[in-house]
């Protein structure tokens, strides 16, 4: 085996710009997906039958089909119907919708882990439902869900690479392009591993640091 890296040096800016796109998509989709997931989790645990059904259907449909197919349908499928969405927006929308289904399940577990006593304590203080949710339930539920959310963030980062199939110029797209230009397949794969692994580690480090700061109680 003979590893040669010097051919790849001119392509470093290209790889870094790909990494920037991947990080951008990951952060936006994590934030948007978390809000969406919280909303869906509330639908699923509501007393309204239709809301519960819709929440369930959404979660099952998304979790049981591959992200690749979802992005395909969003990008090409809607394109065939004359609705033109750019690769970036397709990725942002598609990955957010995908991520929402997973975070919804995480939040559902988090919400159900909050002891009943807290609900009762809230209503004893004369709070209405929204106030109880906002001031009493949300924080402990979020703390319980936090480790699972961090895991989800890592998975989201790794799976954002699927967006390369709709020509989004993220890290995997650039890696494959550099592979085409240089034919250094093994070397590029190693670089990819180090970049993906390094960023995942940084994400975990940051999220640990944040958990320490935010969840002090």
């Amino acid at each position: 085996m003979n590893l040669v890296f010097h051919d790849i040096i001119p392509y470093i800016p290209q790889l870094l710009s790909g990494l920037a796109v991947s990080l951008y998509v990951t952060v936006i989709c994590m934030l948007a997906g978390t809000v969406l997931g919280l909303f869906v989790a509330l639908c699923k645990s509501s007393k309204n039958v239709i809301l519960r059904f819709l929440g369930n259907a959404y979660i099952e449909l998304i979790r049981n089909t591959p992200l690749l197919v979802q992005l395909y349908i969003l990008f090409f499928g809607l394109g065939q119907l004359g609705i033109d969405i750019s690769p970036l927006w397709s990725a942002l929308i598609g990955i957010t919708i995908n991520n929402g289904a997973y975070t919804a399940e995480i939040f559902r577990a988090g919400l159900s882990s909050v002891p009943k006593g807290l609900h009762e304590a809230g209503s004893a203080l004369g709070m209405n439902k929204a106030q109880i949710f906002r001031h009493v339930i949300l924080a402990p539920a979020f703390r319980t869900a936090f480790p699972a959310l961090t895991n989800q963030l890592i998975l989201l980062f790794l799976f954002s690479s699927v967006a390369s199939i709709i020509s989004l110029e993220e890290l995997t797209y650039q890696i494959m392009n550099v592979e085409t230009q240089t034919s250094r397949t093994l070397e590029i794969t190693l670089i990819a591993a180090v970049l993906y692994y390094g960023c995942s580690s940084i994400f975990v480090y940051l999220s640990n640091a944040m958990a320490k700061k935010v969840f002090k109680w």
């Binding site: 085996m1 049981n64 089909t65 197919v69 591993a193």
Partner: protein, 219 residues
């Protein structure tokens, strides 16, 4: 040359689905064994076992599956140390190594969620290590292991599509092949999505009923 999409193109897609199911079944089997060993290692009192299991889990979970498959199939033979695995062996090995890390984490969580008192009670009764696990820990830990285990299996079915990098025509790749045969990606991938849905949704529903029966008999 370019054909219209028709029902005959469902055959290669179903063949791909069958391959996906086979690969995932064996990978979950071997990955499960690795996972149990890692889970026991991570929760044992032995420091070395602790560190080694932790290292394995951290390392494998931080690297994309694609890279693992690539290294097993292509990089090992290139080291010129006499290793050259076949396609099937490489795919199952890589997926098992990957599944092992996730199952290890799930098993660890399951064992740790059994209250400490249960371990102490078993010790107080003079049970051996094996007896303790067989009669006390495993029955309780399983209810924390089965649901996320099934969840992981469903994820594995979707993620295993990456084996196409080493030349396997699995469910997703079959969709690509048919799409290039017919130049009709939408129809091809809708069929692929439907097949994935049937497999994954069916599995999760089956697991749900199994789980309920299982938990009832243990209650």
């Amino acid at each position: 040359m370019i054909q219209d999409f028709s029902w005959i193109h469902i055959i290669p897609i179903l063949k791909g689905a069958w391959l996906t199911i086979q690969l995932c079944f064996f990978s979950l089997l071997f990955g499960g064994v690795i996972g149990v060993i890692l889970g026991l290692g991570a929760t044992s009192k032995n420091k070395l076992a602790n560190v080694l299991s932790g290292l394995y889990i951290r390392l494998v979970r931080g690297v994309p599956l694609l890279v693992i498959i690539f290294l097993v199939y292509f990089a090992l033979p290139m080291l010129d140390i006499g290793i050259n695995f076949s396609k099937g062996f490489s795919a199952v090995l890589a997926l098992s190594v990957y599944a092992g890390a996730y199952m290890g984490e799930i098993v660890r969580g399951g064992i740790q969620s059994v209250p400490k008192g249960q371990f102490e009670a078993a010790d107080a009764l003079g049970m051996s290590y094996f007896q303790k696990f067989r009669h006390v820990i495993v029955p309780q830990a399983l209810q924390y292991i089965i649901p996320p285990g099934i969840g992981f299996f469903i994820a594995l079915i979707k993620d295993s599509s990456l084996v196409s990098i080493i030349g396997y025509i699995d469910l997703t790749k079959a969709g690509k092949v048919v799409s290039n045969l017919t130049f009709n990606p939408i129809a091809s991938f809708l069929v692929v999505a439907a097949v994935y849905f049937v497999i994954c949704f069916g599995l999760s529903k089956a697991a749900y009923y199994f789980e309920r029966r299982f938990l009832q008999t243990n209650a």
